[in-house]
């Protein structure tokens, strides 16, 4: 009770201090550091740049500053030698608790102020994709939770050591550990959560849940340590141990501390988000499991029920197999490590099964013993939170009413050791989704609605052929576009509709597909009649397979579409990103050498120029593309390091790489298109170049090295590197 009476007094005193207001002011300004100096979220989405980075930077600044303020405030009475008097009037334990609560209240006030002041800035910078829920969660979890942790850590240090300078050093070391050594460990980086991307067009609950889990773990741990340090608060003229012995006489106090520490350990160990896959990616032991002898596949089906509010999945799967061996067989499945498997039956009877502790490539091994009967139907149920493998790139298993992506073993258990039957691996899959979500199987299969319940939830069904399968579902807008002799089904997030309409996405898709199909040929992964273009949640890149291609949302943000290096206008940058379906996915390029100009960008920028020339005329294309490349290249050749490479070689490797990377943009986006343009003139004009590019696009691929190289390009043009020299 005394603590509660002291709290308003302590808070009032705290808020009268100029230092408190200075700390609050600097914390409120902290998010600005995320816009210019400290950018841990590396993805190019608007929310990563203008929400995640400022919020994390604000948390780092606020956590450290409030920690220092806590040390200053706790040391105040001792510094002015008033502690003897105040301790005589009020128990030092009560004072310490009241000070902690007052500091926490000031932190809450600061976070609220920061969120309020930065709201118009974030809304203005992120534009059409601004989302209030993401904003609040970002400032609450990415920034806000860092402040109490800083206060608790600093208070612990002071209460143990009772020295302000030593506590400051301990806080600095603790913060430095989080910012450096622990920065890649999502559970340890208490100050700067491990967030690499926030989606603009879809939800981010998975990322926020993971950050909340980390914050909870640390909150419990630091609360436990703080309680222990609180027991060490000096009283009756005793030292740390003497005070501890006296304070611990009331047994519930150390018990609370130990319970908090135990809870923290339990929460740390029981994290549900990341699996324990073998970090050695060269090991693929699940693919080396021998096929079950004389067992072949007949068919399979699965009914999947995602719980979009909890982010979990429940499912039933059924597999029909022919067992011609006349004996029991052990069948292996890959299953997402977050799922619990139950009710495994064969022809209606329970059969033994086991799930391995060993995991690789985001799968655990489920082994089921099937009886010696000719036709066996194995059924099973599974449920849980789908786990992911890469802790530094979380968010891939986002599952909400706006978006989900269930890949292979996360959709339903994946058969590993059964040979295909006469029809391969026929599968019939169903998923029940909220009314606003559209199911999009990745591939040529088309999902159809087969039923709808009273709540509006719809069950989608599609047929597939394979042991795995990938399903995207989300609040998508679908545009059907006739182009290049096929139907393009273009799916993009509803939140992105304004941006897509502004850039004329449908017209751009039509122009690109028509042009590229006519000049270079059909995409190898198109199914012939249809091609699905699916915008995915930010994933670090796209991929393509039979009848479908994935577009990473990060390529279509307003910031990227405004990049004049890729196109003169946002609509032209959109064209650029689509051309990557031909140069980048349809024809792959090896990882670009930072020092060299050859990459997928050269041919993509050149093709964009050709399409723009066809759409808007030669004068426009020359002014906005060729002249711009020439200016950039002229500037590049005057660069000091280009003229004096010997100075570049003097620099440490990291600096060399950084400078090469800063120059590589010009080489890839301007120099190489200019070289291709020169090649076009040397080989006899646009028509001749188109024929060359057609032959390169449709060349026979070497499966060991399927990448298009500069040497192949030069050889197809019958030119040498020197002939394309621009200097």
């Amino acid at each position: 009770m005394k603590t509660i009476r002291l709290l308003p007094l302590e808070l009032g005193r705290l808020l009268q201090s100029r230092l408190t207001w200075l700390v609050m002011l600097l914390t409120v300004l902290g998010p600005a550091a995320g816009l210019f100096l400290y950018k841990p979220a590396t993805a190019a989405t608007m929310n990563s740049i203008y929400l995640a980075n400022p919020a994390i930077a604000g948390g780092v600044v606020g956590g450290i500053l409030f920690g220092l303020l806590a040390i200053f405030e706790l040391d105040r009475a001792r510094r002015s030698r008033m502690d003897v008097l105040t301790d005589a009037a009020v128990s030092p334990l009560c004072t310490a608790l009241a000070r902690l609560l007052a500091l926490l209240a000031a932190a809450v006030l600061t976070v609220a102020l920061t969120a309020l002041l930065w709201l118009p800035v974030s809304a203005g910078l992120t534009g059409a994709v601004f989302d209030g829920t993401d904003y609040l969660l970002a400032y609450l979890l990415l920034m806000g939770a860092a402040l109490p942790l800083g206060i608790l850590a600093a208070s612990c240090a002071y209460q143990f050591t009772r020295r302000a300078d030593l506590s400051g050093v301990l806080l600095a070391v603790f913060a430095a550990l989080s910012l450096t050594v622990w920065a890649g460990d999502w559970q340890l980086c208490w100050l700067n959560p491990c967030v690499w991307a926030l989606s603009d067009d879809f939800s981010n609950f998975r990322v926020f849940c993971s950050v909340a889990w980390m914050r909870l773990t640390w909150l419990l741990a630091l609360s436990g340590v703080w309680t222990l340090s609180w027991l060490c608060v000096r009283q009756h003229g005793k030292g740390a141990l003497g005070s501890l012995a006296r304070s611990a006489r009331r047994a519930y106090r150390p018990a609370v501390a130990l319970a908090l520490l135990a809870c923290s350990c339990a929460v740390h160990l029981a994290q549900p988000f990341i699996d324990h896959s073998n970090p050695d990616l060269t090991v693929m032991s699940f693919y080396e499991i021998p096929y079950a002898q004389d067992v072949t596949f007949l068919s399979r089906s699965a009914q999947v029920f995602p719980d979009t509010s909890a982010g979990t999945v429940t499912g039933r799967a059924s597999y029909r197999l022919r067992n011609a061996s006349g004996r029991e067989q052990r069948i292996s499945f890959g299953i997402n490590p977050g799922y619990a498997v139950s009710h495994v039956r064969a022809n209606g009877a329970d059969v033994p099964f086991s799930v391995s502790d060993y995991q690789e490539y985001n799968e655990a091994l489920l082994e089921v013993t099937v009886p010696a009967e000719e036709v066996v139907e194995v059924t099973m149920e599974y449920s849980g939170l789908p786990q992911e493998s890469i802790p530094t790139m979380q968010g891939g298993k986002e599952l909400s009413s706006e978006y989900l992506c269930l890949e292979n073993a996360a959709l339903s258990p994946r058969l590993l050791n059964v040979l295909p039957g006469e029809n391969g691996y026929p599968a019939e899959l169903e998923i029940t989704l909220p009314a606003n979500m559209t199911a999009v199987p990745f591939g040529s299969a088309q999902a159809e609605v087969v039923s709808q319940d009273e709540s509006g939830a719809r069950t989608w069904r599609w047929e597939d052929n394979g042991t795995g399968g990938i399903l995207y579902a989300g609040d998508y807008v679908r545009e059907d576009i006739e182009a290049g002799g096929m139907t393009i089904q273009f799916y993009y997030g509803r939140k992105h509709q304004a941006v897509m309409e502004e850039v004329g996405a449908v017209e751009a898709v039509r122009a690109v597909v028509d042009y590229c199909t006519r000049h270079y040929g059909m995409l190898s992964f198109g199914s012939g009649e249809t091609l699905k273009l699916i915008q995915s949640r930010v994933a670090g890149g796209g991929y393509a397979a039979d009848g479908a291609s994935l577009l990473d949302e990060a390529d279509f943000t307003a910031a990227n579409l405004g990049d004049t290096g890729k196109g003169a206008a946002p609509g032209e940058t959109f064209i650029h990103e689509l051309v990557h379906q031909w140069w980048g996915l349809g024809n792959m390029f090896d990882a670009a050498d930072p020092a060299g100009p050859w990459s997928a960008e050269g041919l993509t920028v050149y093709t964009t120029y050709r399409i723009v020339k066809e759409l808007y005329g030669e004068a426009y294309a020359r002014e906005h593309y060729v002249d711009q490349w020439q200016r950039a290249v002229d500037d590049y050749y005057l660069n000091f390091y280009v003229r004096h490479p010997e100075y570049l070689e003097l620099l440490p490797e990291s600096e060399q790489l950084s400078i090469s990377n800063s120059l590589s943009g010009v080489r890839q986006y301007s120099e190489m298109p200019l070289k291709i343009l020169r090649a076009e003139q040397l080989v006899g004009g646009e028509e001749a170049m188109d024929k060359i590019l057609y032959s390169l696009f449709n060349r026979e691929l070497d499966p060991m090295y399927p990448y298009l190289t500069y040497e192949e390009f030069l050889s197809a043009c019958a030119l040498t590197e020197e002939e394309l020299n621009l200097e």
């Binding site: 390091y641 003229r643 440490p652």
Partner: protein, 238 residues
């Protein structure tokens, strides 16, 4: 006087605040050198007078703020209360004020030396380049006028109202955001990135056009005149 000067120097420079300021300055300097200066400006070498001038221009706001912070030692409420006692001493007020001003100037110079020293170490370590003599002119032209002006104007403002010093600290940040005419290009650093390109040669030697020289001399003169006013002891202007 030298005793008072030494005492004031010790008071200003031998404390946690100055050490912290120097640490922040060095840290920011390292960021600028590794992030921007290393690339060179206007197609010149990172160690050219132009790139070095650009580095100093980027450091100038912090040096300005640091110099004004040093002045707050003499203009704060606490210092004004102590002035009742110091004014009663037999020391001539002009001499006392000059000694304090010299101490603040020494602090500002030390911070400047730290900045330039850091750049020199950077050039030596990264490029094995030690031709520091060629950097003296851009350093003098870029730093001396604004720092003398900061000292003079800061002293004047601090005597009027102590909080005005804190407002005045934002001046270089404001200048950086304003589209200044070419003659004032040294005040926001745009001079070093644009002027060499207009000379039409690669790696031009360091020169200053007449309007820029005039602007810097004006700033220096104004700063010196304001400094002369420091002969009036704190509190007398009110």
């Amino acid at each position: 006087m030298s005793k008072i000067y030494r005492y004031e120097c010790r008071r200003l420079l031998w404390n946690k605040f100055f050490v912290g300021l120097a640490a922040v300055l060095l840290l920011y300097g390292a960021l600028v050198l590794h992030g921007a200066t290393i690339l060179g400006v206007a197609h010149t070498a990172p160690f050219s007078p132009w790139s070095f001038g650009d580095y100093l221009s980027r450091m100038l706001p912090l040096l300005w703020i640091g110099t004004l912070f040093l002045l707050t030692f003499f203009t704060s409420g606490r210092a004004r209360r102590a002035a009742v006692l110091t004014d009663a001493t037999p020391m001539p007020p002009r001499t006392y004020a000059l000694a304090r001003c010299a101490a603040a100037l020494t602090g500002g110079l030390l911070l400047t030396l730290l900045c330039t020293g850091e750049a020199a170490v950077f050039y030596g370590r990264m490029f094995g380049w030690y031709g520091w003599g060629s950097l003296a002119l851009p350093a003098l032209a870029t730093l001396l006028p604004p720092l003398i002006f900061a000292m003079g104007s800061g002293w004047l403002l601090g005597q009027l109202r102590p909080w005005l010093l804190y407002v005045w600290m934002a001046a270089p940040l404001l200048l950086a955001a304003l589209p200044l005419p070419e003659a004032l290009g040294l005040w926001n650093g745009s001079f070093f990135t644009t002027y060499p390109l207009s000379l039409g040669t690669l790696d031009p030697g360091f020169t200053l056009p007449v309007p820029v020289i005039a602007a810097q001399l004006l700033l220096l003169g104004l700063g010196a005149v304001l400094l002369m006013k420091t002969s009036k002891p704190a509190g007398r202007l009110r």
